[in-house]
Amino acid sequence: MPKKMTKKIKEIEEVKMEEVLDGTVVYNVPFPKDLKDLDKLAPIIIKFPYHTDYIHSYGQDSPFFAGLTNKRLLGTECPKCKYRYATPKGHCMYCGTKAKWFELPQVGRIHTWTTCYFGSEEFLPECPYNLILVEFEGVDTLFLSRLIGAEEKDIKIGMKVKAKFKRLSKFKPTDVYFVPA
């Protein structure tokens, strides 16, 4: 990350230890003699976990993920108005017709991009990472993906990129990613 912080930003971004949620377990707290003092009691803050394994079906989009594990990138096309979706849509957003699968080219260009230095908790360990929206020749919509092998300073709109596929599929859209072509 470039640039030295100004004095003001140093004040705003105070130096402090990171807050973590592995604090001590407490089974009792003090209690006042007089009930009138209860309003002065500091709030009691507890922790509870929340974890769920979802049974998420990709439904009509499933062939896209089957494609990724076979190194094929699939989009959908409206048979009626010929609108082509780089990120699959089961039905055309414009005429409502059921769309058909077609194979996307594995080379495209960067339509826009960013480098994330922070992220959602799930992705924090991967920071910094690059996000790109890829445009493909003759396709009407874009595709969101990761760009590997380039840093913020190297990335430009219009840059040619090519698809690569994970050998061990996770059946996630990240089974495909892009590298500079």
Binding site: M5, I9, I12, F48, T114, T115, R146
Partner: protein, 430 residues
């Protein structure tokens, strides 16, 4: 769309100050703080108000933050509004704006004479990065979230394209941050009141997602806001119940728009034109792409038609818009037709959107300085607009520095990520 048969007024509002965390109370009393303020300003005690109020609409975005479903009814009972009718509204960041408009509909349709819109969010119950994860679940979990689900990343990609299309600069974005933090200095409801930020400060703040730094982005918060809306009939009932006189503000325009959840799916077509724009203005522009918000343009256009506005920047005295990002404030100038597409960056530099300028934008400091407890935000904007149009900023802020002199007409704008739902409401002095 036809004009509604009945005029609708906002009669009072209240805000429970937005803050990083409110561990001292749960969400119900937080809403009550705003509710009690609104009633006190109206001069009607709750018991008397209960006799005349017809119902309410609840606004909150996420059930994840508290792991509590049906929080709305818990507010309804805590406020003592049971068994009156109510329902919850949800539409991401635009939840508050949608709630306000649902309350408007309840009154405009004749279903209610007096309706309370209340909104809140308690985002402090999880750590910031978990909160970012919850917010990112408001993106397609099959195709977008797993790739790097992070809202700041999405908005960063949108503004990178805006910079490419129009030459918008990071310095122009920093100027939005400077302006909004500076305005907030005089707003006691704002969290971040910094009168003297510089472009260098904003740019040297930690980078979150290029080109957005921490000072380009609003913060998650706890907070609540309440608006009370009424018909002419409702006004009479309120007047009778109140021991004091109050100044209602008329709601004269309502608009909403939508766009595809996945940014990748947005079309690259023709600009939706508003009056005084012609197709030749945008010969080479593919619209909305990911650089502009078609939902915002649609909402603005609809509200302008209803309120009879042809030249927004000349006919509006101020705007409170959804500046979750400095970039989205610039993009929204264009969607709302304060300038042509591509001229948002130069507009912030022109000074026209400063307090004292032609059309101040976010005189309150906006989301950037006040914070963004999602369900409360759109209603907070309505409360600030209400006070501007009543010319009671001095009373509510304890100083009149941010009072727009002679404010006759204002606009509030609520926006859900990444431009999926947008609401625009026009409010006017009576």
């Amino acid at each position: 769309m036809q004009k509604p048969q009945r005029p609708v007024y906002m009669v009072s509002g209240g805000v429970s100050k937005f803050t990083k965390a409110r561990p001292d109370i749960t969400f119900q009393p937080m809403v009550k703080e705003a509710y009690d303020y609104a009633l006190q300003d109206l001069g009607i005690p709750h018991k008397k108000f209960f006799e005349i109020v017809d119902g309410s609409v609840a606004s909150y975005f996420s059930d994840h933050f508290q792991r509590q479903l049906m929080s709305g009814i818990m507010v309804q009972d805590y406020l003592g509004l049971c068994p009156k009718p109510s329902h919850r509204v949800e539409g991401g960041g635009a939840t508050g704006g949608l709630c306000f408009q649902e309350a408007w509909k309840s009154v405009a349709s004749g279903h209610m004479d007096i309706c309370v819109a209340y909104g809140f969010e308690t985002m402090s119950h999880v750590q910031t990065w978990k909160g970012n994860e919850f917010i990112a679940l408001a993106s397609d979990v099959s195709f977008d979230y797993p790739v790097g689900g992070f809202y700041s990343g999405y908005y960063a990609m949108m503004v990178v394209r805006h910079m490419h299309e129009f030459g918008t600069t990071v310095e122009q974005m920093a100027k939005v941050s400077i302006k909004n933090h500076k305005n907030a200095f005089w707003n006691p409801y704002a969290q971040k009141r910094i009168p003297d930020l510089t472009v260098e400060d904003v740019r040297s703040s930690p980078m979150v997602a290029y080109p957005l730094t921490r000072l380009d982005i609003c913060v998650m918060s706890d907070g609540a806001a309440v608006c009370i809306l009424a018909s002419d009939e409702g006004l009479k009932k309120l007047q009778k119940a109140s021991r004091q006189s109050f100044k209602p503000v008329k709601i004269t325009g309502i608009g909403r728009g939508t766009d595809a959840m996945r940014m990748a799916d947005r079309p690259h077509g023709e600009v939706i034109l508003i009056p005084r724009e012609k197709p030749s203005d945008y010969k080479k522009l593919k619209y909305p792409g990911v650089h502009s918000f078609r939902a915002g343009r649609t909402a603005g256009k609809m509200a302008y038609e209803m309120a009879g506005i042809l030249e927004p920047i000349e006919e509006l005295d101020f705007i409170e818009l959804h500046d979750a990002y400095t970039s989205s404030e610039i993009q929204t100038y264009e969607d709302l037709g304060l300038c042509k597409y591509g001229e948002g960056g130069p507009l912030v530099e022109s000074g026209k959107v400063e307090v004292g300028g032609q059309c101040p934008v976010n005189p309150s400091g906006g989301l950037i300085a006040c914070g963004h407890p999602v369900g409360a935000t759109g209603l907070m904007q309505a409360v600030f607009a209400h006070w501007q149009l009543q010319e009671t900023i001095n009373k509510h802020f304890g100083n009149g520095k941010l009072q727009i002199k002679n404010a006759k007409r204002g606009l509030i704008h609520s926006h859900a990520g990444t431009g999926t739902y947008v609401t625009v409401t026009i409010m006017e002095k009576v």
